[in-house]
């Protein structure tokens, strides 16, 4: 009935609400405009139908470089590492070994220790950090607070330090003899702590270091989430007689769910990929107390030159990240956006 009009074809006939034509009513007069001079395909850029004037090559040209790079430097190595994880590595020649490397992994105390350490960080550091960050965000969101921007910068600054540089700084601060931390403890009469050479304190040091860097970062993200909660909701809660705690539980937390999920997923992925901090602080020591899967992968692959076993460890990490992400999704409810961006950030949050 209606003629197709093209958005690109100049002034289109005025939009009319659809009319029901009864016998008594004449159909609406046709638009006095000449029909569009364009072929119908012209407006359908996304349509598959191609006009002859534009060769197909161009459409490939835009995505071509990325596609080629992905095939060469992602798809191929991905397949190669999967294949290698099922082989034995004898001085450069690979022989098929089935699940041997994975079996070896299951009986490898160092690998289990690296998982245990990661688990400790996930259980202690991540929730602690997100709780502190949430409190900080709520404080920074108070309407009466002045110099908000300045506070925000102060808390965010640690997360813009260079990864290796901040680990180096903490390594010096935590020196057993004469390090600033021990000197400061000395003023209070506490004897020096062997921060980086004692298995328990080394873990504490690593957790403290990571928390210092990332808490403010998460607080700023959560703050952005808080600011997107409409004022009316707080007011409604206040009118209903909700106190600060109830408001927090019933209004803030449910609204922040996707943002909390985002923070916890980025932190989890970051924890599983932890390398820089413990490599610089302790090299995974003492007695593998700060060993993490990626650091172990590095040591197996590039100190011991056992590429097959290193590949198997890498795939174990992939699997664990996948499983944990799915679990967190179930736990916090769905939020596709949060997840896709969380994964893409590839950064310890």
């Amino acid at each position: 009935m209606a003629i197709p009009t093209h958005p690109a074809s100049g002034p289109a006939p005025a939009e009319r609400p659809p009319e029901i034509h009864t016998a008594a009513q004449a159909p609406p007069p046709r638009s006095p405009l000449p029909p569009s001079p364009l072929p119908p395909s012209a407006t359908r850029l996304r349509a598959a139908g191609r006009t002859r004037r534009r060769p197909r090559v161009v459409h490939w040209a835009f995505a071509g470089p990325a596609a080629a790079l992905f095939v060469v430097f992602f798809a191929y190595p991905l397949g190669a590492s999967l294949y290698q994880s099922f082989t034995n590595d004898d001085g450069g020649t690979q022989t098929w070994a089935g699940l041997a490397q994975y079996r070896r992994m299951l009986h490898d105390p160092v690998f289990w220790k690296s998982l245990w350490n990661t688990g400790l960080i996930l259980v202690f550091q991540v929730p602690l950090m997100i709780c502190i960050a949430l409190v900080l965000a709520c404080v920074l969101n108070q309407s009466w607070l002045r110099f908000k921007g300045t506070w925000r910068i102060a808390f965010f600054l640690p997360s813009v330090t260079m990864l290796v540089a901040y680990a180096v700084v903490f390594r010096v601060l935590l020196k057993t003899d004469g390090g600033m931390v021990n000197q400061a403890l000395g003023w209070f009469g506490v004897s020096p702590v062997d921060w980086l050479n004692n298995p328990v304190w080394a873990r504490v040091s690593l957790i403290g270091t990571i928390t210092w860097r990332w808490t403010g970062y998460n607080a700023v993200i959560l703050l952005a989430g808080l600011q997107s909660i409409p004022r009316e909701q707080y007011e409604a809660a206040a009118i209903d007689g909700a106190g600060a705690v109830t408001t927090f539980r019933k209004v803030v937390v449910p609204q922040l769910r996707p943002v909390i999920l985002f923070c916890s997923i980025t932190s989890t992925i970051g924890t599983l990929q932890l390398f820089d901090e413990n490599f610089v602080l302790t090299k995974g020591g003492p007695d593998n107390a700060t060993m993490t899967p990626v650091l172990y992968l590095y040591k197996v692959g590039f100190d011991q030159m056992d590429f097959s076993y290193a590949s198997a460890i890498a795939w174990a990490v992939v699997l664990i990240i996948g499983v944990l992400s799915v679990i967190q999704f179930r736990f916090f409810g769905q939020s596709d956006r949060a997840a896709s961006t969380a994964r893409s950030e590839r950064r310890r949050g």
Binding site: A8, V139, A154, L163, V168, P258, V280, F302, F307, S340
Partner: protein, 276 residues
Amino acid sequence: MTLDPSVLKRSVVMLLLVIGALVSILPFYWMVVAATHSNDELFHSPPPFVPGGHFLSNIKDLESSIGFSRVMLNSLGIAVVYTLASGLISAMAGYGLAKYRFRGRGLLLALVLTTMMVPFQVLLVPLFQMMSNLGWVNSYQAVIVPFLANSFGIFLMRQAFLDFPDELIESARIDGSGDIRTFYRIVLPVVKPQLGALAIFTFMSQWNAFLWPLLMLDSQDKYTAPVALYTLVGGTHVDYSGLILGSFLATLPLMLIFFIFQKQFVSGLLGGAVKG
């Protein structure tokens, strides 16, 4: 004497804030202090609390020990080249994926999303072997090329281009502008903000990159800042003040970027998940 509860609450909040901010900021202050003292002064008891006068001599030492200016230039060069090249590739691929239909488009999109989900450490071993076979070990391109196709960037740019009206592209075509010209004269200028945000993040992540450059770069004249700092840590006789000075200088560019582009930062952090 009773306190107004709101005053009490506010003072508690302020106290928390001040303590938290001090914990955040003190290491930075200490970096400045440590970088301007000699090694002996640094571990002297009581330790120094105000910046000292050894800044220039520490710089000289750092220069002679690892050629620090060269290292910083390496870092800068690699980060700039990587940011520009991967930004261009991301923009092109994002545009291709958003506005064209071609064979293999779905596959490519799936590949981009897969890349996002897979931690890059899985590729370490095979990429290392590839670089050895290519003879690229200890070269700048080994650090730059393998990660040029940046899935996060492609995804971000595709989102930006999806919002771009087809009509504009169409009318440019009717006016006789070719696809490529339309892309860089009409479409690219519109997504400048997103490109800028992407560039900031790409630059920072490349500046921070440690594991891959550590594997690839063998000679000191090619080191990037993180690799050079790491080599300073491992020695038997460590020059701590130089180490801290180097750490501080290596962090400075990131801080500058942060101060200049604060706005893009916070919104970019969320990747659009929350309107910040």
